[in-house]
């Protein structure tokens, strides 16, 4: 049996996101072969009704976005789409700049996002992660958030690479010039 077949069975049975290392452990597939097998699985799923959702070290199988309305009627539970503008802004920042610290989110929006971030955490749309160079908590999107947007991976977001470069570079320049000039009136974004 092929590696991609084993992974498909495991992800189907588990029915929730799994880390690549957990997959490797249970299937006995060497970690270095996992990405290739996932690629193969992703391509095979394309012709069917399922899709792979992936971010960093985590992966899950889900139903294709095109079948959304059918499954929703089956689930008999209304999806919660009520998300305010503040929530959307914070989500965009975390989607495009992840991993990103809260002080940076606040700095970009010019307003404190404490409770918005908390509510996004509660809804399972973002999660805490520790990231190098970021003081305090950093945040990143969950697979749940990708699934809300019907995205298989972050790179499928519109202008993902260019926005990331644009904003990260600008902030880097600003924080470098601030360091040169000493204290700024504004809170600095943490370094990347």
């Amino acid at each position: 049996m092929k590696d991609s077949q084993k992974i498909e069975a495991v992800l189907f049975w588990k029915g929730e996101p799994m880390t690549l290392s957990a997959i490797s452990k249970v299937t006995d597939i060497s970690p270095k072969n996992i990405p290739g097998a996932l690629k193969e699985l992703e391509e095979r799923l394309l012709s069917g009704g399922l899709c792979l959702v992936q971010r960093d070290e985590e992966v899950a199988i889900g139903t294709r976005p095109e079948t959304s309305s059918i499954i929703e009627s089956l689930a008999k539970e209304e999806l919660r789409r009520d998300i305010g503008n503040a929530g959307l802004e914070v989500l965009s920042i975390i989607l495009y700049l992840s991993p990103v610290g809260k002080s940076r989110v606040d700095h970009i929006r010019g307003v404190s996002s404490t409770f918005t971030v908390r509510n996004l955490l509660i809804r399972g749309l973002i999660e805490r992660v520790s990231a190098e160079g970021i003081r305090g908590h950093a945040y990143r999107p969950t697979l749940e958030l990708l699934s809300h947007l019907g995205l298989s991976k972050l790179e499928d977001l519109p202008d993902y690479v260019s926005v990331r470069e644009e904003i990260l570079n600008r902030e880097k320049r600003v924080s470098e010039s601030e360091e040169k000039e000493g204290e700024s009136v504004f809170q600095k974004p943490e370094s990347i």
């Binding site: 199988i61 139903t63 999806l79 503008n85 990708l146 699934s147």
Partner: protein
């Protein structure tokens, strides 16, 4: 009724600034920022009570706007390197925020529209299997951790408090520089004023006075950039 849906009622300072600039169909630059300064400040007068952190953000941005406006009214005013970089950064922040706001708007219709269902309905037969941590003691110490983790209140970091104080100082210094540069004394304009907002509004009133006064007493070419044509003939008296 067991669920309450709250309405959005908060507008941040960057959001307001953007709205003012875009409302006038202007680009983000010194000119447009200077043009919307009065509106920004008067909007701020009616703001509801909010966290200290947000108030600090508002004032920090207000001070930069005042710098820009002062500079446009008094081209002779020279800004320090730090002040210049504040101006540059405010513009950069506005541009970055605008970008994010647009991206958020494109996400809005996508959110929940075509969902990928990750968790199925599938259920497995439960098998009773606690681990060693499931004891009365384990449960009790865990509930204490839970209680301690419920947020109580957000406190303003000390650094921001310090920055607010230095902003007040900056406004006072700036007012002195403005005063000196046109040789009319406004030394007492902040006397007895305690609220930061009052200082800012008061200072803007002073700037208005400066503008009119300067136009009235000098024909110095240095001030000719101030548009005389835009003055209404029935100028209100400030004296």
């Amino acid at each position: 009724m067991d669920f309450v849906v709250k309405q959005q009622g908060f507008e941040g300072p960057l959001e307001k600034l953007l709205e003012l600039i875009e409302g006038r169909k202007l680009h983000i630059n010194d000119l447009s920022l200077s043009a919307v300064t009065d509106e920004y400040l008067s909007w701020s007068k009616d703001l509801p009570e909010r966290t200290i952190g947000d108030t600090a953000q508002f004032i920090l941005i207000a001070s930069t706007l005042l710098l820009i406006k002062s500079k446009s009214l008094l081209p002779s005013l020279t800004l320090s390197e730090e002040e210049e970089s504040d101006v540059v950064e405010l513009q950069a922040r506005l541009i970055a925020y605008k970008r994010m706001k647009l991206l958020a708007a494109t996400l809005k219709p996508r959110f929940g529209a075509s969902f990928i269902f990750l968790e199925g309905k599938r259920e497995r037969q439960p098998v009773f299997s606690p681990d060693a941590s499931v004891t009365i003691n384990g449960i009790f110490s865990s509930i204490k951790t839970v209680i301690a983790g419920i947020p109580v209140k957000e406190f303003l970091p000390e650094t921001v408090v310090r920055k607010i104080i230095s902003l007040e100082e900056m406004i006072v210094r700036l007012s002195e520089r403005v005063t000196r540069s046109i040789s009319i004394s406004f030394k007492d304009f902040t006397k007895g004023v305690k609220e930061r907002k009052e200082v800012i509004i008061g200072f803007l009133a002073v700037l208005e006075l400066v503008k009119r006064g300067a136009l009235a007493v000098t024909q110095d070419s240095e001030f000719s950039e101030i548009r005389i044509e835009s003055r209404s003939p029935q100028t209100p008296s400030y004296s």
